[in-house]
């Protein structure tokens, strides 16, 4: 305090208004004191590591998103330190950004989530270190999809992104005040990733069957579209909720869930929505922050479920765009756990996928007052319907709820593995065998966590 007063008096002595402009921030230029002052200018592939900064609660990632790119050589070098939070680039997003990368890792795509820039799509050329060069202008999808939009890339050679939105579902009653149904209006838009433009949009209502609607069921959220083999439909995951028909309010009691549902939409017209229903899964199919459905070489689409009463299933949608109810793959059975819950996953080819999940027996994390619990990473064989944990240094504070990025390159899967607030490593997993090799070190900061490698 005393020092402040001295400072004050020396300030007042001058009184000149110019003195008022003296700010107390220092003038350090950002970054550059770290490991990598001169990032290599050439590599066969850039890998971008992303992390979430805490807001007021450690591990929540609501304080923004930082990215940093390293060469293939560096990411595979266990002695190389990636000081992401120290040297990284702050992406345009007030909260956790929704990141996607081009297949070759040379371009990052981001849609800002929340805040004044919410809904802004931007595209960066990856040039190593914290060099991310904005390119192609900014595109704002908030008018269609809100300032906290959900989107993914289609696997069509970096051509298209799709974002989905559902307006707040409204309760409708008949003239006598009896409950009829709850519905919102859905919007789908496609983004041309090459030209950075919105290329199409459409909105529609998605009624369920009369019987389902009378019970109060409705689609609350749509997310994680995937393109079918024929390229003429996209299959969109759903998050279902239920209204209590006797009160018109959201039903928070235990109720029997319907079979898992997805919406099939004509592509690229985004018209003609059809609802398909599984008889095996009963969870939602909307994923969380990244992909949740993948087209495999066998022409089928594989889709994970969340909040499934019998633990997550991997569902199969065949080339007729219908659920294949003969494909019965329960992760609980395959993993020998109860209440498996797929947090994030990625199909890597040859019917092999890598799944981040937690289950009822997961150790509660020290963070979030136990509201989060430990996650695992399993190699899943979709044709054999088997799953096996990858050998990693698991920890109660290691959870993948917000995980977004699995880089797949030359038969390897690159993942960022660390506990909240703890240092960790990039692991390079042999896609075929599931064998994990330690890559570059991830230097963390308390409260923050890593959300992917792109």
């Amino acid at each position: 305090m005393k020092r402040n007063f001295i400072k004050l008096f020396s300030g007042l002595a001058i009184v000149g208004f110019s003195a008022l402009t003296v700010s107390c921030s220092d003038d350090d230029t950002p970054g550059d004191q770290g490991e990598n002052p001169n990032p290599p200018s050439e590599t066969e592939r850039w890998f971008t590591v992303a992390g979430g900064i805490m807001d007021e609660t450690p591990g929540n990632g609501n304080g923004g998103t930082v990215i940093y790119s390293v060469s293939k050589e560096d990411i595979e070098d266990p002695n190389h330190e990636i000081r992401l939070f120290e040297n990284g680039y702050q992406v345009r997003s007030q909260r956790t950004a929704r990141l996607q990368a081009s297949e070759d890792g040379s371009t990052m795509f981001n849609i800002a989530y929340g805040g004044d820039s919410g809904g802004e799509f931007s595209k960066y050329l990856v040039e190593g270190g914290d060099e991310f060069v904005p390119t192609g202008g900014v595109v704002n999808i908030s008018q269609y999809a809100g300032t906290a939009p959900r989107w993914v890339k289609l696997f069509d050679g970096d051509q298209t992104g799709v974002a989905m939105n559902v307006t707040s579902p409204q309760v409708t009653t008949d003239d006598d005040g009896n409950y009829l149904y709850t519905r919102g209006t859905a919007t789908a838009i496609t983004i041309d990733l090459q030209d950075a433009l919105i290329s199409n949009n459409n909105d529609f209502e998605v009624p369920l069957s009369e019987e389902e609607e009378a019970q109060g069921f409705h689609i609350f959220r749509l997310d994680t579209p995937v393109l079918n083999e024929a390229g003429d439909k996209i299959i969109i995951g759903t998050w279902m909720r239920k209204t209590d028909p006797s009160t018109g309010e959201n039903d928070t009691n235990d109720f029997e869930r319907l079979g898992s549902k997805a919406i099939v939409l004509d592509y690229p017209s985004l018209e003609n929505p059809q609802v398909i229903t599984s008889t095996l899964g009963h969870g939602d199919t909307s994923g969380y922050r990244s992909f949740n459905s993948f087209l495999a070489e066998d022409g089928n689409i594989y889709q994970a479920t969340q909040r499934d009463p019998n633990g997550s299933y991997i569902l199969r949608i065949n080339s007729d765009n219908e659920y294949d109810n003969s494909y019965d793959f329960s992760l609980d059975s395959a993993l020998g756990v109860q209440g498996a819950y797929v947090e994030s996953w990625r199909y890597v080819g040859n019917n092999i996928a890598y799944v981040m999940y937690r289950h009822d027996g997961s150790a509660p994390s020290n963070f979030n007052d136990g509201g989060s619990s430990q996650s695992f990473l399993a190699r899943v064989d979709l044709s054999a319907m088997t799953a096996e944990n990858v050998d990693l240094p698991y920890d109660a504070d290691m959870y993948f709820q917000q995980y977004q990025g699995f880089a797949v390159y030359e038969g390897n899967v690159y993942v960022s593995i660390s506990s909240v607030g703890q240092d960790g490593h990039v692991y390079i997993i042999d896609a075929e065998t599931g064998e994990a090799t330690e890559g570059a070190q991830l230097i963390n900061e308390p409260g923050n966590h890593f959300v992917g490698v792109f």
Partner: protein, 795 residues
Amino acid sequence: MGQNSSENQYSIQGYVKDKNNDPIKGANINISSTKHTFDVQSGKDGKYFQAGLTPGVYIIEINTGSYLEHHQIVLSNKNLEKNFIIDESKNALDEVLLKFTSVKSEIEKKGFAVNVIETEDASLRNIQTNELLNRTVGIKVRQNGGLGSSVDYNINGLSGNAVRIFIDGIPISTYGSSFDLNSLSPALIERIEVYKGVVPGHLSDDALGGAINVVLKKDTNNHLNASLSYGSFNTTQANFNGIYNAENSNFFFKASGFYNYSDNDYEVWGKFVRNILPNGRYDYVRAKRFNDAFESYGAVTELGFTDLKWADKISIGYNRSDLYNEIQHGAFMSIPYKGRFTEAAANVFNLNYTKTDIVKGLDANLTGIYSQRERVINDTVRWNYNWYGERSLDMDGDPILRPNGAQQGQPTIETIDRDIYTFRGGLKYEVLEGQNILFNHMYTDIDRTQDDIMRSGLERNFMERRYLTKNISSFTYEGSFFDEKLKPTVFTKFYQQRIKKIDPVVERQNGSDVIVFDEFSRSISETGYGGAISYLLSPAIVILGSAEKAIRLPSEGETFGAPGENVVGNSDLNPERSDNFNLGFKLGPYKYLKHQISISANGFLRDTKDKLVRQTQTNLNDAVQTAPFENLGRTESIGFDAELNYMFDNNLNVLVNVSKFDTRFANRLDSNGNVLSIYDIQIPNEPFFTANANVRYSLKNIFQKNSLMNFYYNLSFVDSFYNIWVPRERRGIEEFEVPQQYVQDAGVSYAFPNIKLVASLDVKNIFDRQAYDNFAVQKPGRSFFLKLNYTITNF
């Protein structure tokens, strides 16, 4: 004098003598206030006389040529006799101390960190009460737009619900959202007291970070005052107030009214002002705000008796106010709204009683208020709009639906009705001279019901009912020792809050569904305490210190939710606590020849725990976009503010103040004991360095004799700050920076010689610079306002 004494003008007279009681002839006596100045000379008998003075604070300067002396006096509603005995041997014409006697300095020297703002000057100008506060050291008023836009007060780093506003000790919230500080013409205000961090016991409310107490004028002389102001953006403000006293009886009647209107269609530009084309690309534009009109009007009446045997004053009053306010955008400017607006109305009935010396030394005051408030949020327009106020079109040329169905959220016409009973009582007992004991109590009872006609009939049958009762008591001891040099105050406050919720739910009984009522209630209680001390080191140096363990109870909105703002209720909230400390000093005023200077500074510390913050969602299963508040945050604010006031010859007045408050995140460790990266980092969305400079220059006898012309200039500076946590500067953060702001205002006022009419012209934001609120919302650019103020005292 020989004039009609009802003319509300008074005289000062007396004599000037030396220490031998011999009259001094020809002493120059200058009597000046901010409005007027008068010069007289003492006659050969040493006598002087000056009539035609309105009540207020005056500085009297006595100058005999070899000797200069100053006094500050308060002229209330009667003629004043003031004699001066001059000891010429004691004071040569040299550095002289000006002794304080004004109410302002009395309050400011009690030990609390308090600023008293006198509004006399402002009442004649186009100045909002909020602007006056914003220029005060240590306060930052965050207002996200023009007249009527929402306002948040930050006192030394604490803001929002931590700061309470009172009118004569009654929380302003009692009067409803349709009655805010804009509804009070500065002409009605005697002074504004700003308590920083430590709030005295007589303001019994749960003010965690400070309090703003607006003290209304108490004069009871017949007069009628009216003012009308008109300016840019069709901004119209009209006020009148009048008092009538019956002759030969103690009856009085007071009435005042206000009308405020503004289109607020000022131009905005910059990075958030862009129309989004169908393909998502930006078209940056300069546009006028098109959904931001504001209108409020109301009346305040009071009638009663004064100077009865059993009451100094007893009165009943009725206030009515109405408000209509369009909302142009949410917290950020990036998405313009059309058709979202709020309406509010309040009917307030009150009863007041004051009596001094019930028994010798015992004073009492009582206030009872019943307030009936209604507020409606209306948001039903389904389409996106661009900054030209046109519907945004999609790729096929069709209008685009808003992502949640209406402008801000889902469609709503939500009405919240509140019945509020407030009772406030105070007792003061003077145990010995200068030693007082005070007891104050405030009781508040809120009964809230809500409805939303955009919901289905089914949902509306299940709307809840909410009750909140709050009791706050305080005991205070005020002492005075060593010739009034040492003034300690200690107080303790007891807080109690009880909430009750009644929710209709459906239950299956005997095979059929019946509606039953779920009841929930909870009580919390807390004790806080604090004190203040001042020590007069030498006649013009006062050292002030104060500390409080302050409490804030969870508010009604935090407890019960605010559906219109997507806040979910949480009835398990605990109070916020804060340990607040202030240490400061006041120097002067010192006078040298015609120069006069005073300096004050205050350092502070606020350690706030269990801070109520909006919950953030991390868990996958939280499907809702709405969020409750929770007790989570801990912040620490350290800083100082300082003010320098320089006057020259009563003509030039320069006020400079700076305020630096660092509010930092104070949760230090994560669950594993590691120091968090944002520990000790400045919280986002708050400016932390501000400064103001204010100059006034007076010229007498321009155009007409006895007229007074004042020139004003104000510069306000806000340093840049960020909208995100910045634990370190890294590439990309420049997108989140709110730039430095310099805004300059100027004005001139002219008081005609008969004092009845004052005209003023103000230019705000002369250089049309971009000025922002905390979320980078742009405030009005250059604008002009003209105001006429007319006072009739002859009826």
